[in-house]
Amino acid sequence: MNIKINGETKDLGDLDSQTPLLWVLRDELNLVGTKYGCGISQCGACTILVDNVAVKSCSYPVASVGNAEVTTIEGLAGLNGELNAVQKAWVDLDVAQCGYCQSGQVMAAEALLRENPNPSDEEIDQAMATNICRCGTYVRIREAIKTAATQLATEAGGDAR
């Protein structure tokens, strides 16, 4: 079985095709930025992108990926290591406390902004309701998404809102 991930194709050998993508990432591909939190799609710590759509990898069999392109937190930065707009906003606004949920939060935010580059507060809240932050950094996550949206709009030469 092959899988397209972060711009590369990986051979997974004869892996059990029903293995949740989460454990394939963590144990087989050593992409441990994607986290295990609940295993039942409740917390969003395992959020990744499959063809730009946020997916809970803990409940997503690897076989379901097919030819789609998987993006994990490790695949967001530029080739030269430069952080993307969402990552940068997360660092600049010091969003994290323990940080365990944050790769999932960043991926959920990334999915939101890829689909809707200029979300309203309510759209942000609804899109991010899939992800739990046990430390309670929601106020900062909201701000960081707005900051990233502004940054992306500036880069695109447009107006943020």
Binding site: G37, C38, L83, D94, C98, S103
Partner: protein, 750 residues
């Protein structure tokens, strides 16, 4: 016959987490007590391996390399850069950033020039290393300042020798030594060689900065791991891999105290990807190793699948039969009977008899789970009589002691690598998961990563104890609170002492401030483990006393703010570990002013205020809420005023307060675990519903910049939230809720 053993580590954890035992390293204005010698020996002996060393002065390091300048455990400078070591576990409270900031300040280094690394576990160099009780800042403030200043003074001396000038003619700034009169300057990196040859001065004699000259402290600094976090780097315990590692899971009895009678081990061993499966006997200590079945596999998923296929017959003769519904029935009976008195000041009976008005209410709060987002895990390797551990633990010293005991070696043969913790909240004060990993690694002879599932995590937690309070109070003809009685019903594991976090202190607010006070305490037998949960004790008592104060204010027909300030009274220090009523009144007034207390609100909207003192922090919170007819609560804003002395990292401090408010709301609205037949009834997040972003209110944080020495912020902003919101809901609706979580009274977050 298994008997549950709650040994004396409870005492130590209690001492650490109560926030009362903050070592006096901080100087005059802050009144924190020294541990007495008996406690001191006990704590250092148990937590750190029996070495008796000073907490204050870091031991001088002998540099291994002549070109490396390493005057103590916190600073290392060589030509490649400045490394500062963070000594304590990072659990989200921000100490991996804030503690090195203190060193960098006195070192006079540019923060941008500094690299922070997690330190080793080394009591000789660092004293106690743990995360608990919001103690990292107060316990380390002076030691870290001296560590930085020591390094700075040696760099200055090295420059003085190089340039043959007096030390007094030199200054430091931005990671360099400057000789202003000649215009010469040298980077610290260039001086490392020569500084390494300078005698290490007595840390108690080095000159410290005046606070007005601080360049780093009080500023907003982003966390040192933030870059790695957003890149998905392997920072956490769960991310650890070692060569040849296998993946392990461990199934225990869902009713604590149960033992393995038989299991389908052969069937499990025949499953794909399974390396081994075996029964581990417990060691008799509930905090170390409970009996169960271990499965070792080639991948986490193979292990989890095999765990699901396990068929275990349990011997439950001595297992827990804890029942929350039974406890509620018992409490309903006991609330009508007087219990043993913890406090009996003045004459409560007379106060009640002579009062003009009285009020009473029966308060109840459920058990709660820590639900730290990273499930317990530990990687262990046992080879040639030595044990190596990679563990996300809040008490690494204690983990070493316990794990050494489990595998039968000396603690000196254990190496523990501190890993970033995906939340702690008190759960990782206990190292049962470390003991299990050590036992499994020894048995299979290859390195293993033990992974608890979320279901394990919720089934084998050390829960925040539930409790019940029958409150009764009175007001006199002036509307002043004249009598206060708290009939508290808690839980006990040993039939004697209340469970950790479930014992009421004689000084519990506002008892120490009132004339006629009685607190009674009765404990129900309980087998499940209970322990510290963010702001232990305070996290529930604040809800009860903060709400009942409001009930009495309402009974008196007075404004709650006025009554609260009247109770606090004249500015004074309430005993060596107590609050300062002046600081308390200061934050109450500030929060009220910033929130616009007293302004007219539309029907269905209300404001509530609460104050609580815990972990040496004085915090007041005002909640502004609207409640709909169907009891949906919209929390518009929470205004917080905090006096924890000077702020170390403004960004981190605000984050802790914001997070405490969210955690407080989450807990008061929805979080409960219940027990039947000894088993937890909520086994994953679908039944334990933490707050999500749409319910997060605006949070307005204000710090009083007092001259007191700085204290911690991981916990004290949590307790006042619940009573502030309960009181606001009453103001909005006239409905007095006395159950936590409040969802059990039909309220929900909008």
């Amino acid at each position: 016959m298994t008997s549950l053993n709650y040994d004396n580590i409870d005492d130590i954890v209690e001492a650490i987490t109560s926030g009362r035992e903050i070592l006096n390293e901080v100087g005059a204005p802050l009144r924190i007590t020294k541990l007495d010698r008996r406690q001191f020996l006990k704590m250092t002996g148990a937590v750190g391996g029996g070495l008796m060393l000073s907490f204050s002065a870091p031991k001088a390091f002998a540099s291994k390399n002549a070109s490396t300048f390493q005057p103590n455990g916190y600073v290392k400078i060589d030509e490649s850069g400045i490394v500062l070591y963070a000594k304590n576990p990072e659990i989200g409270q921000g100490v991996k950033t804030s503690l090195p900031m203190i060193v960098a300040e006195e070192l006079d280094a540019n923060w941008e020039d500094v690299t922070v690394e997690q330190s080793s576990i080394d009591q000789a160099a660092y004293g106690m290393q743990f995360a608990g009780g919001s103690t990292a800042i107060p316990m380390n403030w002076m030691a870290l300042r001296r560590a930085g200043a020591t390094a700075r003074s040696m760099l200055v001396e090295a420059a003085a020798k190089r340039w043959n000038v007096s030390v007094d003619s030199l200054a430091t700034e931005s990671s360099q030594v400057i000789h202003a009169s000649s215009g010469r300057h040298a980077m610290y990196l260039e001086l490392a060689n020569e500084a390494a040859a300078v005698d290490v001065p007595n840390a108690d004699t080095v000159t410290l900065k005046d606070a007005k000259d601080f360049r780093i402290l009080g500023k907003r600094v982003t966390g040192v791991d933030n870059d790695g976090l957003v890149r998905g780097e392997p920072l956490f315990g769960i991310d650890q891999t070692v060569p040849g590692m296998k993946y392990a899971v461990f199934q225990k009895c869902d009713a604590i105290g149960g033992d393995v009678k038989s299991a389908n081990l052969d069937e499990i061993k025949g499953m794909p990807g399974i390396h081994d499966a075996f029964v581990l006997e417990g060691n008799g200590s509930v905090r170390e190793l409970l009996p169960g079945v271990a499965i070792v596999a080639d991948s986490t998923w193979a292990a989890i699948k095999a765990k699901r296929a396990l068929k275990i017959e349990w011997e439950e003769t001595d297992a827990s039969t804890d029942s929350w519904s039974h406890a509620m029935n018992e409490a309903e009976r006991l609330r009508h009977e007087s219990g043993p008195r913890v406090v009996d000041n003045g004459n409560v009976d007379t106060a009640f008899e002579t009062s003009v008005k009285q009020a009473s209410g029966f308060y109840r709060y459920a058990f709660a789970s820590h639900a730290q987002l990273e499930p317990q895990n530990c990687t262990a390797s046992f080879k040639d009589g030595k044990l190596e551990l990679w563990a996300p633990t809040q008490t690494p010293g204690s983990a070493i002691m316990s794990a050494a005991k489990i595998v039968g070696i000396q603690p000196t043969n254990v190496t523990l690598h501190q890993k970033r913790c995906g939340g702690g909240f008190g759960r990782r004060l206990y190292n049962d998961f470390v003991c299990e990993a050590a036992a499994i690694a020894k048995r299979v002879g290859v390195p293993v990563k033990l992974q608890w599932t979320r279901e394990d995590d919720m089934a084998y937690d050390w829960y925040r104890a539930g409790g019940f309070h029958q409150m009764h109070g009175s007001v006199d003809e002036n509307g002043k609170i004249s009598g206060w009685r708290d009939r508290f019903i808690t839980f006990t594991n040993d039939g004697n002492r209340p469970v950790s976090g479930g014992g009421i202190s004689p000084s519990v607010f506002p008892g120490g401030l009132l004339e006629n006070v009685r607190v009674e305490q009765t404990a129900l037998e309980w087998k499940n483990r209970c322990a510290a949960w963010r702001a232990p004790g305070s996290n529930v008592f604040a809800f009860v006393v903060g709400s009942f104060l409001h009930e009495l204010a309402h009974t008196a027909g007075r404004d709650h703010l006025d009554v609260l300030l009247e109770v606090l009274g004249e500015p004074r220090q309430m005993g060596p570990r107590g609050m300062h009523t002046g600081r308390a009144a200061g934050v109450v007034k500030l929060a009220a002013e910033k929130a616009g207390w007293g302004r007219d609100l539309e029907p269905g909207r209300g404001m509530g205020v609460a104050f609580y003192y815990s972990h040496a922090g004085h915090i007041a919170e005002v909640a502004d809420v609207s409640v709909s007819d169907d009891k949906k609560v919209k929390v518009h804003k929470v205004t917080v005023a905090a006096d924890v002395g000077p702020i170390v990292n403004l960004s981190g401090a605000e984050n802790q307060v914001q997070g405490s408010v969210i955690d407080g709301l989450s807990t008061m609205f929805n979080l409960a675990v219940s027990f039947e037949n000894g088993r937890v009834q909520q086994n994953n997040f679908d039944k334990y519903s933490m707050l999500r972003m749409p319910s997060a209110p605006d949070i307005d944080v204000h710090f009083v910049k007092s001259d007191y020495a700085p204290t911690g912020l991981g916990e004290p902003a949590f307790p006042p939230l619940a009573p502030a919101v309960y009181n606001a809901i009453f103001e909005a609706t006239g409905l007095r809720a006395r159950t936590m979580p409040i969802s059990e009274e039909g309220f929900s977050l909008a």
